[in-house]
Amino acid sequence: MDTYLTQPGQEKSRTSEPAEQETIVVIDDDYAMRLSCRKILSKMGFRVETFEDGGQGLEGVTKLKPSLAVVDLKMPGISGMELVTRIHEVRPETVVVVITGYPTVDTAVGAMKCGAYDFLPKPFSPDELRLIVNRGLEHHRLSVEMQRSEMERALLKRRFITFVSHQLQTPLVAVHQYLDVLKQLDSMESAAKRQEWLDRCLKRTEELQALIKDWLSLARIEGESFSRQWVKVDLQGVIAEILKTYEEMAAANGVCLESRIPDDTYFVVGDRNCLSVIFDNLIVNAIKYNKPNGKVTVSADALGGEVAIAVADTGVGIPEKYRPFLFEEFFRVERDETRKTPGTGLGLSICRKLVSEMGGSISVDSEVNVGSTFRVRLLEYRARAEEEEKKGSSR
């Protein structure tokens, strides 16, 4: 959760001193073990509670809601393995670390299967305990953060239409607010400022128009009113046409465009219009999120009945944590550079829909500050022809 929960000035000491005191529960029937665990973990700044059997331990977990539980596997009463399972039932967020005096691969695997996060054989040194507890807590913090992120996302996803209307409202609200303030403050804003604001208003209305256009095409793709013809398409023809359209935009951004696809070599099965939409989006993105003196390279490669078309840029790249959401509707990478770049957050989800309709797939490789490569795999025309030939000859 890093600095999000810490007080200012506390951030540096976070690893040794958590901002909110985290609770750790130790469940072990051995008094000496409970005592030494308590001593080591309290010193690290955690609140530590110990219990001498599974029943009490489980009650403690329910009541104290600990971030982490240290559980001895061999105890009278409820067995350690069962305890791990039961802890997960009452509090799935609690990370369980198992300790045992009888370490075997089987017990370790068994504990992991029951949901334990890590395994520590007895006897262990204080350093080993500290290391494993810190690792367990880091895992706990990450999963809490992820869970929160998912909750926030789910709250909106549940009402998708509401969300769309929010996206449509946002630019409108900005324009309204500028106009309102211009009206309210007629005497005091400088002429330059007024001009700047009016320019922003125009930009935002353009953004709204682009959003409505993309939203409509997405709705049309889903509604199947988009007429499609599955034919043989020469890739180079499609790509060359798009690159030509964006020559000017690329030059204005200081980006160089290059196609490495030879003429009359790669043919795919698909709809020409759909293919245009897909590569149009990918190439525009590659220009938009590039750097000055950057490059966009389109290349193709045939393998196993498929043609893989790669659109590679030398731009800002996409941090790994955002990649799973990249093809979702309205997703945009949160970053200072991209805030200035207009975009609807719909382009890539349109691409994914169209590609999968043509029986293909789309994926991305990226490295931050080095660039991104989007790869579209489509059925090679030759492969289909051969398939049909085979069918024909076997008849």
Binding site: Y4, L5, P8, R153, L156, A174, Q177, L185, K193, E334
Partner: protein, 145 residues
């Protein structure tokens, strides 16, 4: 009328919205602090202790504003700062499925977007006056979670 030292923190991911709103509030002699996501907003709130916070709910495709308000209320020095909650999506907080008696929201004000500027100014001035009259009154309520 208003003192130069009254600080208002605006947290909204739409930079144009923040620009327009802050120009308006600055014209009425408030000092405006700007943040564009929850994390930045929380950090500024903790560092600067603003007299009032204006918080958008939906930021970066998520309902980040709610969680930020919760985090703000967890900070001792910020338990009483008035928070104006903004959204273009609904006209009241309960529309988000938030119970009206949530202790961390109950004493804050909700404003639909676009914001009516004279109304905003009036509400801001009223809150500032209340704060001046009785700085000890916990405007944010008990704010226990």
């Amino acid at each position: 009328m208003t003192s130069e030292t009254e600080k208002i923190l605006i947290v909204d991911d739409d930079r144009d919205f923040v620009e327009a709103l802050s120009a308006f509030l600055e014209a009425h002699h408030y000092v405006v602090l700007k943040a564009h996501d929850g994390r930045e907003g929380l950090k500024l709130a903790k560092m600067e202790h603003p007299d009032l916070i204006i918080m958008d709910i939906i930021m970066n495709e998520r309902t980040e504003g709610f969680f930020t308000v919760q985090e703000i209320r967890r900070t001792v020095e910020l338990k009483t700062v008035p928070i104006f909650i903004l959204s273009s999506l609904y006209s009241q907080v309960t529309d988000f499925g938030i119970p009206p008696n949530s202790s961390w929201l109950a004493h804050d004000e909700f404003l639909p977007k676009p914001v009516n500027m004279p109304e905003l100014l009036e509400r801001v001035q009223r809150r500032m006056e209340e704060r001046h009259r009785n700085p000890e009154t916990p405007v944010g309520g008990k704010a226990e979670m």
